[in-house]
Symmetry: C2
Subunit: 152 residues, 2 copies
DNA sequence: CTAATCAGTACCGAATTGGTCCTGATTGAA
DNA sequence: TTCAATCAGGACCAATTCGGTACTGATTAG
């Protein structure tokens, strides 16, 4: 299976949980408790998502994180780019030109571009809001994995 | 970057090279020489692609492998499924139900299904023929990587 | 001034992946 | 019939990547 990294999966879970909760500022500890994702891992995610413009942060005693935009305005593509880098199945992609010195000559470029464009388009059409659903309680064991994949 | 495994990348390279060559039967050694992919690795690929119906094989002194269908009739989706398993970004996918016991309740299912379908569709619309191009000579160093990604 | 929380960086163990090796089976040619 | 060439199956290993953690510094409200 071609797959997203677990960390990206976690980010979507955490961010959709933030979108669902009332209140706007959430600490790493709160997010960890609600989603079952380990706190150090949530902290790590926030350190990538914040500079990418998807989260805003506030230091200090009343500090925490908030979604930078409403859930409807954050696409899965945004999240994937922030954590996994450019959306593509191979290094043959715009913006990754430094890895490909003969892009004009590569016989496969056309095929891969078609695929990469379709994937990007699909990820851009789904937002965090689409990933939210009824309130859901994470299982007690292997929670992060279970939650990320929707497992029982 | 969400990416295909290197082995899947190699398989596409090797198979498109086979499609380009005259003659229909190619040994592992020949394919390794033409593409720069190590022979044991090519052999490994063939052991997955053949049972999947993408290659036919013939043992014995005049043995080797051949594409099971013309290049136009082999999609990138076929190859990815044979090597990487079902096409999906997460375990939330039809056919992987054993990993998800609450698929009817999973709040994210709808979003992921849309994405997974789009990726499958994109991969099904590109064939091995689309990945072939002018005759191209692989570089001498790090050949498999260079070739697979079209790097100089 | 203190406690709570984010920010940056480095490190480590586990898992996965790429790659190899060995042996057995098959087949055509000598 | 024998032999060389090649595929088939399975196991194993090293390297790399990823998930996860830990520590220290900076910031902020009370």
């Amino acid at each position: 299976m071609i797959k997203l990294s677990k960390l990206t999966d976690y980010a979507i879970v955490v961010m959709s949980e933030m979108a669902r909760q009332t209140g706007t500022v959430h600490t790493v500890t709160q997010m960890a408790e609600r989603t079952g994702v380990p706190a150090p891992t949530v902290a790590k995610l926030m350190k990538s998502l914040t500079p990418a413009g998807l989260m805003t942060s506030h230091r200090g005693a009343a500090g925490g994180y908030a979604l930078a935009r409403p859930a409807e305005a954050i696409t899965i593509a945004d999240i994937v780019v922030a954590l996994d880098g450019p959306i593509a199945l191979t290094a043959c992609v715009e913006g990754a030109g430094e890895e490909c010195g003969v892009e004009n000559l590569c016989p496969m470029r056309g095929g891969w571009e078609k695929i990469n464009r379709a994937i990007r388009s699909a990820l851009e059409q789904v937002t965090l809001a689409d990933m939210m659903g009824p309130v859901w309680t994470p299982p007690a064991r292997e929670p992060a994995k279970a939650l990320a994949s929707g497992n029982a």
